[in-house]
Symmetry: D2
Subunit: 350 residues, 4 copies
């Protein structure tokens, strides 16, 4: 079925494996007339590119996007917009020794169970490389959002159990971890270096915010705005929990504490995270995701091979120590896709 498609009005389909010829995306429903070129896509892709920062893989992918259809003279035409990103630095040889093993924490076992055949190279379709296509699509979505003044940002809230304490948005731009707390960023960096030495990996937490989203988007009772955001985020590999607004904290408040009262000036708080009954309130949309540690680690682990025999594995290929901050851009892209989809859907209501 259509499990690699997302969105109804702004409808994307991604394709491609980690070590196949390319990954890419087809976007349907993109409004015509928007100015677009490969540079714009390149800028977005550069933000999730591997090979940067202390937590990231050494794989060097230039990630060069090529627009294959859907534009004319630098503008979108309203027809399917296809973006192709070739795989150039795919070293399959690094994976041949794990061709018949199930790597713990990866999709090797489940893909084998589902399809009875799998491209084991670099995780194949389950590789984080597929998210390059999402980021390219997200960049196109941003073109739709821009005229509304909608802005989407993300921050690293935690890595390896170290949480942001003094939130200073300006600080995020000053460190490679995109952490809005200088001291926390420093501690995170130390934690990453220590875990690297022990051949292990770390998880963490990201907050994504969308500002200036108009009130009134979302399509209850199943395609609620928060429901679609939850799907979008939980569908990113490594995400194991999603919160909206007060999130887990809301469960511990009383109704009086949690309710966002209203005055002429607007809502007096935003525990709802910008969404009530599945529809945007006009307040900032606030999402937090909890990211599991990178499953590929140098430490030896018990596992099975495809014949069901016990064995051990230690990852030798290139891999990240922590999905953060590369995943931040992916989260932003998914949020942009959901909001764009619902903005366009709302056009039909009005």
């Amino acid at each position: 079925m259509s499990g690699s498609s997302f969105g109804k009005a702004f409808h994307i389909t991604t394709f491609g494996e980690s070590h196949g010829p390319a990954v890419g995306v087809v976007i349907q429903g993109c409004p015509p007339g928007l100015p677009i070129d490969e540079t714009l896509l390149q800028n977005a892709l550069d933000k999730r590119k591997p090979g940067q920062g202390i937590a990231s893989t050494r794989r060097k992918e230039p990630d060069i996007p090529v627009i294959v259809s859907g534009t004319f003279k630098g503008r979108t035409t309203g027809t399917p917009l296809t973006i192709l990103i070739s795989n150039t630095d795919a070293k399959s040889s690094a994976y041949t020794d794990i061709a018949t093993l199930f790597r713990p924490g990866h999709g090797d076992f489940t893909y084998q169970k589902k399809y009875r055949i799998r491209d084991f190279r670099g995780g194949g379709r389950a590789s984080a490389r597929e998210t390059a296509a999402r980021v390219a699509a997200g960049a196109v979505a941003q073109l739709v959002l821009a005229p509304y003044g909608i802005q989407i940002h993300s921050f690293t809230l935690a890595i390896g159990g170290i949480r942001v304490k003094n939130f200073d948005p300006g600080a995020a731009a000053e460190n490679a971890l995109q952490c809005p707390d200088k001291a926390a960023a420093h501690a995170m960096e130390n934690r990453i270096n220590a875990i690297k030495a022990s051949k292990d990996s770390l998880g963490g937490m990201v907050e994504i915010t969308a500002r200036n989203v108009p009130a009134g988007i979302g399509d209850p009772v199943f395609d609620k705005l928060d429901a679609d955001i939850a799907k979008a985020m939980m569908g990113i590999g490594a995400v194991k929990a999603v919160e909206i607004g007060a999130g887990t904290g809301a469960a511990e408040m009383t109704g009086f504490e949690n309710n966002d009262q209203m005055a002429s000036s607007g809502f007096l708080s935003n525990h709802a995270g910008g969404i009530l009954a599945g529809i945007s309130t006009g307040e900032p949309i606030i999402v937090r995701v909890h990211v599991k540690p990178i499953p590929s680690i140098g430490r030896e682990q018990k596992t099975l091979n495809q014949d069901g025999q016990e064995t051990t594995i230690s990852t030798k290929g290139r891999h990240d120590i922590c999905a953060i901050p590369r995943i931040n851009k992916v989260c932003e892209s998914m949020l942009a896709l959901v909001i764009t989809d619902h903005l366009l859907r709302q056009k039909m209501v009005k």
Copy 2:
């Protein structure tokens, strides 16, 4: 668009408002030949029925399901299966005084913004009453799951900040709050009574588990099993956070701690919550949801009327103190719907 439809292979569409003639559901894709009658649906509906327990509303709805189509001689026929549940105890008069007010924490404001018209009686379409249709659909889904031996259970993990400490599954059946910890249940009950006196309300946390789900279901990269579960759960009114497996805890572990290693006996742990790369592993699927407190409270709150003027509101209509444990059955139903959808989808892969 089709925001009130859910699922692709097992495709449901709910309809109905709190104080309209009825709520109901049309189910498409239900396999033919399954034995079904209204008693089976009634048993499911009774588990979310209001008017029971200490945390629940006093609205007395018999919630009598009527099968309108899709069955013949006590069996499903494969054609659309429609279930209608009439609204009999809908006291509209209790809501006329809030016809022009936006109740904090409710969808009144956002529905007005989206549609510029709304059925204000009892929350209209945004009412929890709509979940009766989901529970009826979930009961049909259970018919599909039964031959696989798939079992879905839920537990109350927390209410008003009081968490389960000593997990004893047997204890859950012995208290009205479905809490698997006798002492915690007692404390929760006290907390509920106290908050009732203060005209406020509480939230909490529910864990839902599905056992015997075969390995191999889920449809990456967007219709991942966990992504669809997240959407299903976050789409239930009041849910503000969703976790799978280790969930928020996964973000604080190292890769070595979090990875589920394998031996001949199977997985050595289940931090993944039964899902890897969006596909089931065969281990129990574990989901936790965080539920915000009931927004309707007797305490006075600041709000606006439809003309944008400041005013106050204290809810006088019937309402629950805590959505738990009534919401538990809704969560089970949504999980049943997602799993059924993906089980049927997997038939096409094989």
Copy 3:
């Protein structure tokens, strides 16, 4: 799957069997604020009601529509709009003798093959009674079309091989067969009476036209306006061929003859039938359908029973002689649904 749903933006789902409790429809995507009541639906349903005219069954169904959801104070709310039409004159007894036979020309054999169980009473889900739900949905669609000035009409072009020769639109209202040619109408009537005496039945041809459809709707390359119209029409039971514009005649013209040249005054002809490359031109949309004769006939025919044994059958239940003119209203409704769907979709493009 979702085979009983139609349309993406204006998304309808029909349900119900001929002799079950009711047939009905859920409409999603209906814009809010439209004035609606049961009288409006009743007027539409009366136009396809059985028991009228010389070619029609004697089944007397009042076909009373009840709005179950989606309206408030006489206006649509934008939430799912559900219409229920109870089956009151369903004489199951008339069908028990054919419970185990496959009626030639009907879906008995194929439903049995597909589902291995079927509601044999009156054709069950395959009954033309299901089209009452389509007509109700079409009446709602007309509410969306009205402000655009879009008008949809149909004419009977042929019955039993007798074709309209002198097209006089005014004449159609003056005969029960809705035939725009007085002489042809008379000949058709004679043909119907003669065939009735021989216990046989007739087919024919209907033309449906939509005027004032704005240029620019349709969603290539698969959801072309003409493609969706073809699906809508061929999905009506008994329709065996669909033409757009010059239709079958276009195949015999040269390019010069068939092309619609343009001048300042607009298109100089309309062989395209108002659609070019799957998108409306602004000219009238012209559709013709070819309808097979009613398969239920009094004449004895060879058939099989469910055990595969040879037998014969002569229909004794109530049935029409010709699907025309009752089917005309169904065709109009389906055209209204397609145009409404694409009008709403176009809102997202602009």
Copy 4:
């Protein structure tokens, strides 16, 4: 929206413009494990390739398919299968003089109305070149159909008003027009040469048959097998009418004549064209399409430019005289796609 996607279980998305970098298709839902390579796709593409026969354009496209994703070691993996076909012989210069004109019979005017921007080169997205992607997808669909023994063939039934009289299936392979009547083929050839001299073009008629389709596929009441076939065929540019089985002829028969009676040996006729009530009967599925003449002609025609001024046009670019027989392969492909989609859907019913 998703207008360039087709099918629900076997879900394809095509993209690309005539003179852009490439056309292509993403296929979702393809079962894993099927043997595939580019040679298989090439063989299919060669059958619709331009530059062959007397009725065809002189554009020389090698149409070389490249598999970009979804296979591993020569087998499908169940993940999205992407095929890219580069445009190598795209002479844009031939179209610059018609950049601001609306060619009669083409989508220039309607694309401009819909999107307010269009890639005018070679018809852009509306070009028949897009059908290369459909043919590639159809070749993959054939891989799914092969184990069932399902075979799909097409014949040229008419060109320029000359119809097949003596149907001899063997004869079709012996002439370039794929016409199963040697004498008719000869007459058609003369007709084509004559029309070529007069700078005009021709239409015609194609019959497509699918044998060995099992009884029981199709998804009433809207996704009927014949409804989806009608959509598939009418969605091919140039097709203006679609018939199933007896088609237009059914409208002139009586019920007794048209009904397919049954005996132990099976159906005694096949006027239904293999489909009853939208579900396959097991008999051959028979489809006929009526194809309009190629709109691009050398003869001068009246038209408008984008500013609404009257002018004339005579096509100078490369173009076919008749879409037949190149379109035949496209029709076969679309039929293969519909049948594959419904075969996979039926897996969920059983």
